[in-house]
């Protein structure tokens, strides 16, 4: 499909790029609640939807926002909300409902420093594990993490396509630094759109297909839908006392993401061929990491970079492979070590955390200093 904005270069903030990415991805419904540092997304969508024909509503809180996008998704919309830490916490129960009812929705989390109210205008990467496990019981979602304004735009489009493809909430885990960063980005002529799979009369909550993703009808299509987040069979009929139905449903919700993870996972790497020390990084911190690696490469040091563009599902096999070739892995994070523990699970070599939780971006010099100790 054609992009909505004319092809060319634009000077946007990360938040603005996310709003434009949603519009390009044909987001038809947005519900949100103002919160720093995500408010610019809500504001821009409210203005731009008037031009593009989307439905915008500012709800009374974040709980209402996520519930309303689930309702809109079942009415046929590609639907999104945007928030930050405290609001992301309020949305967790809704996310659980969307996971259980297999509702495609996109949630933008512009991470700020916490816990609690923390520092509203400062960046952090503290919501990595909350994105994975934030609501009760087992869950699998998809979480993407951009490092630039360009990627904030591109990954917002990816988020809609993945949500529709796998019928799952997709979280764009960006941070205040990317959200408020302004830089040049390009809009291409075309945008790739994955449309929801339709199969009239088919079971909406079960499939024999290998990918484990059932087709999705919408309200008003005469399918007499039963949508419930109680344990249900392939046709949505509530079966809360049947252990086999619960086991089958929960296993499929898990495996439809995990079994397809090689198709879902996206990453970026450089200077990896002979790297003895690898920096595994993501989000804004990856920009400082790249600067540090290029500086040390200039000095002939064998350092490389592996950047997670998909945080969840986690690239376990890729990390295992890196761990078998590198001597050490450095993971710089704006949290107390959320991704490094995942790396430790899969890498056979040492994985070392560089943690900074003062609400400031990690400076390249800090990573240079760490790397000098390791090489």
């Amino acid at each position: 499909m054609k992009s909505i904005l004319s092809p060319g270069s634009y000077y946007f903030s990360g938040d603005e790029a996310i709003a434009e990415g949603a519009i390009a991805a044909r987001c038809g419904y947005f519900a949100g609640y103002p919160i720093t540092p995500a408010s610019e997304i809500v504001e821009r969508i409210s203005i731009r939807f008037k031009e593009t024909g989307g439905v915008f509503i500012q709800m009374e809180d974040e709980i209402a926002s996520i519930c309303s996008i689930i309702g809109a998704s079942w009415a046929g919309a590609r639907a999104m909300t945007a928030t930050s830490g405290p609001g992301f916490s309020l949305m967790q129960e809704g996310m659980g409902h969307a996971i259980m009812t297999e509702t495609p929705i996109v949630i933008i989390d512009v991470q700020r420093a916490g816990p609690g109210l923390g520092q509203a205008t400062r960046p952090a990467s503290g919501d990595i594990m909350q994105a994975k496990w934030g609501s009760h019981s087992d869950r699998q979602i998809i979480a993407l993490c951009p490092w630039s304004v360009q990627e904030a735009y591109d990954q917002t489009i990816d988020a809609f396509n993945l949500a529709e493809r796998y019928r799952v909430p997709v979280i764009l885990l960006t941070d205040e630094a990317v959200g408020h960063l302004r830089e040049k980005m390009d809009i291409r002529e075309d945008v790739e759109i994955f449309n929801r799979m339709k199969k009239p009369g088919a079971a909406p909550f079960g499939t024999e297909e290998d990918d484990g993703v059932p087709p999705m009808p919408t309200f008003g299509e005469r399918e007499k839908l039963l949508v419930t987040s109680s344990t249900h069979n392939d046709y949505g009929v509530r079966k809360t006392d049947d252990p086999l139905v619960q086991a089958k449903l929960v296993s499929r919700l898990y495996s439809k993401i995990m079994n397809n993870r090689e198709k879902i996972i996206d990453y970026d790497s450089c200077y990896m061929e002979d790297a003895e020390v690898v920096v595994v990084c993501y989000g804004f911190t990856a920009r400082s990491s790249l600067f540090a690696i290029e500086k040390l490469r200039g000095e002939g040091k064998k350092v490389g970079m592996f950047r997670l563009k998909t945080i969840w599902p986690f690239p376990d096999r890729l990390i295992r492979d890196i761990g078998s070739r590198a001597k050490k892995i450095l993971v710089p994070e704006m949290n107390k070590g959320q991704v490094v523990e995942e790396v430790m699970k899969y890498a056979s070599c040492d994985a070392i955390l560089y943690s900074q939780t003062n609400g400031e971006d990690i400076h390249p010099n800090a990573i240079i200093e760490q790397l000098r100790r390791l090489v």
């Binding site: 519930c67 309702g71 919309a77």
Partner: protein, 254 residues
């Protein structure tokens, strides 16, 4: 006539309601209203929350149904209605769901005057979880969490929703079936936010703790307590003591 309404029910289901529950009566009245309006039930979306009353449409109605999180029927319904205004959206849920945990969504939806029909089923307490106090429990009434009597006043829900800006507001008891059918029809036809509080007997949880243990006791209680608004207008405050005023409080024309 009763058999005619079977076309609106999902085949093969058995009732989940206790003996003496008013929710089955209300289920029938809602379907009668839809039948009389000659609306195609396939053009409707029924949204329900958590609690006994949430089971009235889901799984019983043979139409699109969305069973939501506790307290969040109205936001879910708002999303569906805003994106596809052709859907005739009806919310059916309990007092605890819509007015306790979901009270903020209720007044905001009334303020926005979104074209939704809300049928709030008031059984005076939390039924499904075992009979705990709700924001609708009468002062002094006994529940599992007010064993010495409820110390707080209940909400007057029609007043609350009317003040928040709803277009149509009414209160009826399931013991007033004909008036209730006509009210449901009016609510569905109203463009804008429409709200009916329906009083429904719960002998299992409310009755047995408040000297109204049998289904007939609770029905009689409601018949004695409820008087029509027009009748109430001629009565003194003393005569109105303990009465529940029913009728239309906002008639859809404002």
């Amino acid at each position: 006539m009763t058999r005619d309404l079977e076309q609106y029910l999902r085949p093969g289901l058995v009732t989940a309601f206790c003996p003496g529950c008013g929710d089955g009566i209300l289920l029938g009245l809602i379907l009668r209203a839809i039948d009389e309006l000659k609306i195609n039930i396939d053009d409707m979306l029924f949204v329900s929350g958590i609690g006994c009353a949430g089971w009235i449409p889901s799984p019983n109605f043979n139409a699109d149904t969305l069973h939501t999180l506790h307290g969040r029927t109205i936001p879910f319904a708002t999303g569906a209605k805003m994106f596809n205004p052709k859907l005739q959206v009806m919310i059916i849920s309990g007092d605890g769901d819509l007015a306790d945990i979901g009270g903020n969504h209720l007044i905001h939806a009334a303020r926005r005057n979104i074209d939704l029909t809300v049928i709030l089923v008031n059984n005076f307490l939390y039924g499904m979880t075992g009979g705990q106090v709700a924001c609708t429990t009468p002062m002094g009434a006994f529940t599992m969490t007010t064993t010495e009597g409820n110390p707080y006043r209940p909400f007057d829900l029609p007043k609350l929703v009317d003040a928040a800006g709803a277009t149509y507001v009414a209160r009826y008891s399931v013991t007033q079936p004909l008036a209730l059918i006509s009210s449901i029809k009016k609510a569905v036809q109203t463009k804008g936010f429409s709200f009916i509080e329906v009083l429904s007997p719960c002998p299992t949880q409310f009755g047995r703790r408040n000297q109204l243990g049998s289904p007939t006791d609770m029905i009689k209680f409601l018949m004695d307590k409820c008087i029509m608004k027009e009748e109430a207008e001629g009565l003194s405050p003393e005569e109105l003591e303990g009465k529940i005023i029913t009728g239309e409080f906002s008639d859809g024309r404002n």
